[in-house]
Amino acid sequence: MTALDTPTPLRPATEPRSRPGTGRVFAAVLRRDLMVTGRELWVILVQVGLTPLFMLFVFDTVLGSQGLVGRGFADVFLPGIIALAALTTALQSVALPLVKEFGFTMEIEDRLMAPLPTGYVAIGKLVIATIRGLLAAVLIYPLGALMVGSAPWRPAGLPLAFVVALLGAWIGGAIGMSLATTLPVQRINVTFSVILTPIIWTGCIHYPWPRLSSVPWYQVVTALNPMTYVSEGVRGALLPGVPHLPGWVCLTVLTGVAVVLTWVSVRCFNRRAIQ
């Protein structure tokens, strides 16, 4: 091939291009992320599996065998672990790639230059993060059950657990996107620790929220963490017998937080994408 090859005549360039439909472009942008997600399934497994499974192993199998933790603890803990997987996987799976894509490689430019309002690219990221978060939640359920030898099983509660996990994953994605598009790259690691650690430890993963009445100030702190409503929602759906926040409270709070954080994160994304 040489520079002198005659190219196939395409559309005459003087004809203005018609703008493709937003839905089709959005689907194409989403398809790229889905393809990459599919290829990285094992990464998600590792990302998702290690911390929660180790937590389960230590809290249930190790401490349980020493008699330090009661036998019922695994049942209370597993719904929290499912909720944790949904929210944190979504958070990490949007934040880390975005830091890279908006960083020195600027790989995202190709998608930002698609004939699509920039906010849709951000929404696409949230959709993918939510899918990854849900995938994590769905995977951790049987894996956790295998680890501890049992799991609460209540088919009637699964739809509610699914919706709560979905909202939790969406919120995790929105938090991740807001952080990745506003923080300087050099501070991203420390901020993750500062943000993720309190989310995990004040998120009622290990304990039902109503039982915190013995430490009222801590109960107030946990009520400010959206993770609490994800944990409580999943726990309530799978273990209605354990004291928990009512499902409608969890759904209302999570929907409200999701709406606010969607607005915030898309705005942060747009400000980063267009100066």
Binding site: P12, P20, T22, M106, M113, Q275
Partner: protein, 385 residues
């Protein structure tokens, strides 16, 4: 508007951009148009405002004022529709590392609404055109700079843009890749694609660009064809003289004296070179013994006043020998550039004679054609930014 095939596809009208917390405008009332099938060079020193301008034209930056239309779409009002009209090839490698080179092209086309089967066909054709077929399914990380650049241009073409923006398209590339890229740009022009390019390789770009806009401090300094710009601002020829003035002679007065010669449009002092003289390729550099004799003969043959004296001076060794950094090590030497209205050969004799009259020794003579870069330096100065 120097229309080639219809109305302008890029219209920039009184464009202003001020960044938050900045004291001055990065772009300050810029206006120009680009026609279909035109290659438009937007040149300027670093920080002149050209990247900001291209950023606004390509919807990545929001203008503070003015109006920008690309492919008939107002960029400020409907950036998403404007993006359907344009493609960008940035200076940095922004290829999608999660995809193979072929997938980069296919996915890019689908982002612009091209159906998958059609996108695959276009990708195959473009990979062939840019000599990348054999490495189309490897990892992007294995690509050299030149291959990445070719792939980025190929990617930009998958959705057949009306306007193509290129930022330093041949920066740090080997000659083969540069030839390929310039060739492809000419073909695109022939098909009616408007091309806006920014580059510092101006003399190379001058061979392909139809018009040039030179910007500095956010303003358009000039806008014309490369030929008109060179003729109008730099003159028909350049005569660079490296001379050692006589003791006590004022360098500025010497320069002014040369500027007053008939046929000299402007005389200016250049920085004294640190290396060997005659940096411009093709010049008559380093006047050694033979060169001095030739100059003397030229001056004498020209029959102009002083020519005979020049011959005598040459014979007496007043013309610098060797021309290089030897001798006095370059101290006290001057480099003077004469912008000429006509042929340099006819002015060489009078110039050397004028120098001889002031007892100045000529160390080197360099005749060259003025270039776009000379125009650029003339307009934007020699100070690095």
């Amino acid at each position: 508007m120097p229309s080639r095939d219809g109305p302008a596809v890029v219209e920039v009208d009184d464009l202003v951009k001020r960044y938050p917390r900045a004291d001055t405008n990065a772009v300050d009332g810029l206006s120009f148009t680009v026609a279909p099938g035109e290659i438009f060079g937007l040149f300027g020193p670093n920080g002149a405002g050209k990247s900001t301008t291209v950023g606004i034209l390509t919807t990545r930056l929001r203008a503070t004022g003015g109006r920008v239309v690309v492919g008939g779409v107002d960029v400020g009002r409907d950036p998403a529709a404007a993006r359907a009209q344009l493609a960008v090839v940035p200076q940095h490698n922004n290829l999608d590392r999660a995809l193979t080179p072929r997938q980069n092209l296919v996915y890019h086309a689908t982002y612009h609404g091209v159906r998958r089967r059609e996108a695959q066909a276009r990708a195959a054709e473009l990979l062939e055109r840019f000599g990348l077929t054999e490495r189309a399914d490897r990892r992007i990380e294995a690509y050299s700079g030149g291959m990445a650049q070719r792939l980025m241009i190929a990617r930009a073409l998958t959705h057949e843009p009306t306007v193509l923006f290129l930022d330093e398209p041949t920066n740090a590339l080997d000659p083969q890749t540069r030839l390929l890229i310039w060739g492809q740009l000419r073909e695109l022009r022939a098909r009616g694609v408007a091309i806006v390019l920014t580059t510092h390789a101006m003399n190379e770009a001058a061979r392909v660009v139809d018009r040039v806009g030179i910007v500095d401090h956010g303003r358009l300094l000039t806008l014309d064809t490369p030929t008109n710009l060179v003729r109008g601002l730099a003159g028909d020829a350049l005569l660079d003289l490296t001379v050692t003035p006589a003791g006590g002679d004022d360098p500025d007065a010497l320069c002014a004296a040369l500027g007053e010669l008939t046929g000299v449009r402007k005389a200016e002092r250049l920085a004294t070179p640190t290396g060997p003289p005659g940096g411009r390729p093709g010049g008559l550099a380093g006047v050694g013994a033979g060169g001095a004799a030739m100059l003397a003969a030229l001056a004498a043959g020209g029959g102009r006043p002083g020519g005979g004296r020049l011959a005598a001076l040459a014979g007496a060794g007043l013309l610098g020998r060797g021309g290089g950094a030897a001798g006095n090590g370059g101290r006290g030497r001057l480099r003077i550039r004469l912008h000429l209205a006509g042929d340099a050969a006819t002015l060489l004799g009078p110039a050397v004679a004028a120098l001889a009259a002031r007892s100045a020794a000529v160390n080197a003579v360099d005749i060259s054609e003025p270039s776009l870069e000379d125009v650029f330096i003339e307009l934007t100065g020699r100070q690095p930014r």
